[in-house]
């Protein structure tokens, strides 16, 4: 299905969030995730189903003031 990942449209085979992260190469990475504007805790990624058109944000540490 097609979903939006960090603002870019991606075609993924995954049906759940944890699978999507692995498919995108972030399976082992330290990231925080939000789906359609709502936080998804790491522990909930396995059980979080994806739907076509979902907006996934995958964030990481960055410099800040």
């Amino acid at each position: 299905m097609k979903i939006e990942v960090n603002g870019e449209t991606r075609e993924l085979a995954a049906t759940h969030l944890a699978q999507a992260l692995a498919e995108l190469g972030w399976g082992e990475a330290r990231v925080a995730t939000a789906l359609n504007g709502s936080f998804v805790p790491a522990a909930a990624r396995d059980a979080t189903e994806l739907s076509p058109g979902d907006r996934l944000e995958v964030l990481t540490a960055m410099q800040g003031g």
Binding site: A29, A32, S38, F39, V58, T60, A61, Q63, G64
Partner: protein
Amino acid sequence: MRDFYGVTLPTPMMLGTARFPSPAVMEAAFRSSGASVATVSLRREGGAGQAFWDMVRGLGVHLLPNTAGCHSAREAITTAQMAREYFGTDWIKLEVIGHADTLQPDPFGLLEATETLCADGFKVFPYTTEDQVLASRLIDAGCKVLMPWGAPIGSGMGLNNVHGLRTLRAAFPDVAMVVDAGLGLPSHAAQAMELGFDAILLNTAVAEAEDPAVMARAFALAVEAGALSTASGPMAMRDMAVPSTPVMGKAWL
């Protein structure tokens, strides 16, 4: 001495991690200043996150994640939830920006996000103005720390409304307060501490100095001077001169 949600900081200086010319220069600024808190952020994963995470952990200071760039309570709340998980802290520097040019806080969105986050167990450090009514509402919502601005973020103008900041400080004597944003010179930081604030947070003034590590040290010394001044009870200002050398015993010439 006021603490920050039960944490006593070794130095009253918080330093941002952005805009430095290199990670090594940033680390040098932390070392030379002894800053005890580092502000950090979350952004879209572009490959550099892991290295930055390793570096900030290596600083050995408290991490204060921010919600910089959020323009709505909803965005800020989601960002705070993500930051809590990522950085492993319930501290959050809550920014809900209300205007693109001044970067001043949106007081309504800020209060809404603060109420939700405090109820969810966050220890909120709200980036606010010197407005006393807003401060009161933020404290009612559960804030034990306030972060009033000195001037617009990145402007370097110093304390734009000294009267307002003094009034705010006096109105809530039990609440820890950090002057956040707008400081440009060490004298601004000293002035904030002389007004009785508990710490300062700065970033651009250090990161964009020609020599950030030395400027960070200058700020640290200024903060210490201002804090010592407040602790030692300054003299009262007078309108007229009073001779400091005793008049008694002066020769009659």
